[in-house]
Amino acid sequence: MFQIHCPHCGATREEEEFSYAGEAYIPRPANPEEATEAEWGDYLFMRKNTRGWFWEQWQHTAGCRKVFAVKRNTVSYEIAGTWTLAAGKELYLKESEA
């Protein structure tokens, strides 16, 4: 059972206070009507499902109800850090470019 730092509450709490909210930063197509079936299907269902360091979202359900970004290793379960969605996105994009 993880301990997760909520960047909004500024506190490290137990996993039972949070709920998992899936892969982070999946962009919704800007113009869904123009997306092909394949593009739309990709957005809807295809997932990175990364083995290793993974950007995901958790929601502090029992606390502030905020969704935030977590970078976690899906094999070792080590958590590298947690960020607000906005702060995490910068880091995520930088990593994606690298």
């Binding site: 909004h8 509450c9 500024g10 506190a11 709490r13 137990e14 039972e16 206070e17 359900t61 029992a62 606390g63 502030c64 109800r65 905020k66």
Partner: protein, 224 residues
């Protein structure tokens, strides 16, 4: 129109706590009782926005609390819930005026006040083992909660907000529809500790307990 005589019922009404209430004594290592029928107002607004913070302070007379803390004053208790949410606990009678004051001060701001007085209740939990009791109920590090702290966390399979005023006990703010469950869970967990539904102590400096007196039947709102 007939002469209506509205009455209020608190969420724990079915346990008939007033009838079970006994005087507090030291042999009761865990004591609990409800602070019935308080007023609860959810205040929404970006607390880091100085204008919002000021508006909240002006409307309530209370300082905006730091993260996971609460402030208190004449109007009651203002509890930090999230970066854009506070919970104001006040006397039931004060709710309409406070809502109006919020409406006035929030004008032009992206901030709101929502009445949730029917949705919540508060339980005072005390006795020398009250922290142990909390440790039976949930994963939070309850020993670390200091005076002025407010922790929103899970208790069993429900949520709850735990506030400490002093070392004697804590105030649990819980949802109406989970109140039965949580009360059962508390009484179950308290079996080893000579549990009692004990008379609430006199208000003293406790901003929570003061609200009970303020909310006594004679001071209840007259139906409009």
């Amino acid at each position: 129109m007939p002469n209506f005589q509205p009455y209020l019922q608190s969420p724990l009404v079915n346990f008939n706590l007033p009838a079970l209430t006994v005087p507090a004594d030291a042999s009761q290592k865990v004591r609990a009782n409800e602070l019935p029928l308080l007023g609860y107002i959810v205040l929404r607004g970006d607390l880091s926005d100085a204008a919002v913070a000021q508006a909240i302070s002006q409307a309530t007379g209370l300082a905006v609390p730091a993260a996971s803390r609460f402030s208190s004053g004449e109007a009651g208790v203002l509890i930090w819930q999230s970066p854009d949410e506070c919970l104001l606990i006040t006397a039931r009678a004060a709710v309409p005026a406070l809502l109006a004051a919020c409406g006035k001060h929030f004008d032009g701001l992206f901030a709101q006040a929502v009445d949730n007085s029917g949705g919540l209740t508060t339980v005072y939990l005390s006795g020398v083992e009250h922290v142990t009791l909390l440790r039976h109920l949930g994963v939070y590090d309850f020993e670390s909660i200091e005076a002025g702290d407010a922790a929103s966390t899970v208790l069993g399979k429900a949520g709850g907000l735990v506030c400490r005023v002093d070392g004697d006990g804590v105030f649990l703010v819980i949802r109406r529809s989970f109140a039965d469950y949580l009360w059962l869970l508390i009484t179950k967990a308290a079996i080893p500790y000579r549990f009692a539904v004990a008379k609430l102590p006199s208000a003293g400096k406790s901003p929570f307990l003061r609200l009970v007196d303020a909310g006594s039947p004679s001071k209840r709102p007259v139906a409009a």
